[in-house]
Symmetry: C2
Subunit: 460 residues, 2 copies
Amino acid sequence: MQKVHTYLKKEYPRFLEELKGYLSFPSVSAQGNKKEIQKCAQWLLAHCRGIGLSATLHKTDGNPVLVATTRIGAAMRTEKKPHFIVYGHYDVQPPEPLELWKTPPFVPTIRAGKLFARGASDNKGQHFAHLKAVEAYFKTKTLLPCDISFVIEGEEEVGSANLALFLRKNKKILTADGVIISDTTMPALNTPAITYALRGIAALEITLRGADRDVHSGSYGGSIENPAMALSHLLATLRDKKTGRILVRGFYDGVSTLTKAERKVLHSEPENDPAYYRDFLKVPCLFGEKGFSHIEQTTIRPTMEINGLASGYQGVGSKTIVPASAHAKLTMRLVPHQKPSAVIATVRRHLIAHCPKSVTLEIKRGHGTEPYLFEPTSNAARAATRAIERVFGASPRFIREGGSIPVVTDFKKILGLDCLLIGLALPDDNAHSPNEKFELANFKRGMTLGAELWQELSEI
Amino acid sequence: MQKVHTYLKKEYPRFLEELKGYLSFPSVSAQGNKKEIQKCAQWLLAHCRGIGLSATLHKTDGNPVLVATTRIGAAMRTEKKPHFIVYGHYDVQPPEPLELWKTPPFVPTIRAGKLFARGASDNKGQHFAHLKAVEAYFKTKTLLPCDISFVIEGEEEVGSANLALFLRKNKKILTADGVIISDTTMPALNTPAITYALRGIAALEITLRGADRDVHSGSYGGSIENPAMALSHLLATLRDKKTGRILVRGFYDGVSTLTKAERKVLHSEPENDPAYYRDFLKVPCLFGEKGFSHIEQTTIRPTMEINGLASGYQGVGSKTIVPASAHAKLTMRLVPHQKPSAVIATVRRHLIAHCPKSVTLEIKRGHGTEPYLFEPTSNAARAATRAIERVFGASPRFIREGGSIPVVTDFKKILGLDCLLIGLALPDDNAHSPNEKFELANFKRGMTLGAELWQELSEI
C-alpha cells in the first residue's frame, strides 16, 4: 500500500492537469448539446483505457453510460474477488447566470487551494479521485483485493432517465457487492460524513397562455388576462404565505415523522446553528415550514420550489406588452414514503382546479426520483468508517441530505445493491451555483480514501 | 395639387424602397444600442435634406431629436404662413421574441400588400408618409400653404424622457399652430379615425432578493424563501383574482366616470363586438375589471399589467435551484385625472406593505406620462375631418385609445399646442408584437392625406 500512496503523491500535479482537462468540457445535459457531451464521454473513455481499465461506452436513448472495470480478460472469469461499483456522472448543471462567475465555468482555475469550474465537485472531481486511486494500484502493480467497475453516466442532472434501463439490460456485468458514490457533501473540511438518506424529486413545468401573441398593453391591457398575473395567482395558491406549508391537498400524505430522539440528533451539530446558516446563505432571515427547524426542512420534510420563472420582456428598459404566455419550472423534494408520480398527480389536480379560465394551462411532467433511506449500521458502513478515520483522522458523521441522486433508488430496485454515500464536497462548493469549486485538499484525500476503501470493504 | 398627387403615384415604388431602407435599422431604444440608433438618425437626417428640408439633429442626454423644416432661409423670417409640427419617432420596440417572426424584424418584407418589419407602422411608416407628402410639394414646386416642421425623436418607446427638455430649449423654433401625429390606430382599413383621448402610463420594476446566489434546491430548498414564490405572492396581492380590480389602495382615486350617453357611444361600433374582439386576440375569454366592457377597460379605466417576469433558470430542461432573485416589470395605464407620480407612490406603498420580510425588495421607478384628452369639435378636428373624407371616402370616427404618447402632454404643457391624432395603423398591425406590419394601402393613403391636410388646416 505504501507504493500506492507514494504514487498518488508523486503524480498529483499530473492528476490535477488531467482533472482540469476533464472539467473543460461543457457537458451540460439539460441543454442537450450532444456534441459536447459526446466529446466529454470520449475523453473519459480514452482516459479510463489509459489507466488500464477495460472501458466501454454504452449507448442509451440519451447520453452514453461509461463502464470501466478492473475485470480484465481471464481474471474476469476465474477469480472470485468481491466486486464493487463506483458510480458517478460526467454531466454537469447549466452554468448560467454566466456573469456571476469570477472565471469562466469551463476554464478550470485554481485560487487559494480550490479548483473552480462547473462540475468541479458535482461530480467530475469526486469520481475522478476514485479513478486515480485505481490507477495507483495498477501502475504500482499492487494487488487490488476486489474488482471495481466504474459506472459514469451523463444524465444525472436531468434525472437519470435512461440509467434504470441500462442497469436492467446489463445486470450480468453489474452483479456486485455494493455501490460507492461520492456525490454528496461533508459538513466541513475536517468533518467527513456518510449520507444515509436522500430526498426524492419530482419536476414539472407550467405554461399559461392568453392571447396568441404579445399584444400592446395600451391597446389591449385591461380587457384580457395577463398570463404573468394569472401565473402569480396560481403559484401563490401552492404555498401558505405565512406558515410556508404547501397547500396542495394530499401533498404531505404518507410523510414519515421522526422520533424525538432522531430529531435531537439532527440538531446536535455545530454547523446546524441557524445564525451560522443564515449568514452562510446571506438571506434576510430563514423561512420554511412552520414547526420544523431548517435542518428538518431540508432533510425530513418535503418541499416545493420554483426553479425558474419567465414571461414577456426581460431585457433592459420596458416593453409595454401583455405577454402571450408565462412559464414556471417547479421541483418538489420528496421524503420517505412519498412517490413522485403520486405527488405530481396531486399538484397537477391542484393546478387544474386553481387555474383561471381566462388562460389555458399546459403542464409538462419532468423527471422523478424516489426518496432513499439506508441502514447506517451495516458492515459496509463500518468498513467505510474505518477507511475514513484513517484518511481524515476523524470519524464520519452520519447525515441525511436534502438532495436527490436518482440512481441510488435504481441500484436498490434493479440490482438489489445498497449505496455507500461518501461525499467529498463541501456545503460552500456552490454545486448548481455560479463559482462551483472543489477543495484540492479533498481531491487528494478522495484519492487516498479511494485507495484505503477497497482494503476495508474487501474484508467484510 | 394634381401635380402633387401624380408625383406621389409615380414615385411610389421608390418611396417603398426608401421606407424599407429606413426600417432596416434596429433602432431599439430600450436596448440602448447607441450605434444603431445613431446610424438610423443619420440616415433620416440625410433623407430629409435630400427632400429639400432644412434638417438638424439636436443632441439630448439620450438619443438625438431630428428637426426638419420647410422654413428655409429668408422665408423663415418674412412669410406669415401658419406653422404646423409633425411629430414621429424613429425608435422602435424590442423585436423579441425573435423566433416568432416569420421574416426577420429588420429585413423588411412585403407579403400580400403588407410591409412586415419592426417599426413598420409604429412609427416609421406613418411619419414617413408625411415626409413624402412634403417631398411631393417641393419636387413639383407646388406652393405649401403653411410651414411644416418635422420633430422625429428617438425615445418614444422608452417614455420620451428627454423630449420635454428639448421642447423647452427650442420653444422659439417650435412656435406653431398645432401638432399632427400619426401614431395611433384606425378601427379598420376603411374606417379612418381621429383619436381624442390617450391613456397615461407609469412604469416600475420590482426585484426581490433572497440568498446572495442561486443555491441547490435539494440542500437548501425549504429553509429559505424562494424569491420567485415571494414574487408570486406579492404580485397576486395587486389584483383581485375574480373581479379584475386593482387592489392597491388609492389606485382609482380621481378617475373620471363617463356619462351614460358617452358610454353608449363607446359601444356603438361593430368592431366593438366582444366575440369579434376575442377571436382577434385568440384568448380563451375576455377578462377585465368587472362592471366595464372591454372597450371601457382599454380606454376609460386605468389598468396594471405585468410586462415581464424573470427568475432563476429559464433554459431547456430543469436546474434544481432556489433562485437568488426574482424580477417583474410593471406598467400602469392611467386615465384622466390620474398622475403618474401619485400612482407610482400608491403602488410603491402597497408593495412595501405586502412584501414578506424573508426577501429584500427593490423598486425602480420607470417612465411616466399623464393621460390626455382633447376637444373633438375644434376647428382643427373639423379641417382634418374634411381631408380624411376626401382621401378615405368616409368620415373619421372619434375614438379614445388605450395607449400612451408621452409627448402629447408635453406639447400641450410646454408649447400650449393641441395634437391632432390621425392614426394610419390597424389593430392587427402587431405594434409591440412579433410580425409588425404596415398596410401598403395606408402608406399610400397616408401620403395623400399628408398632402390634403395642409390645404385644409391652413384655411382655418
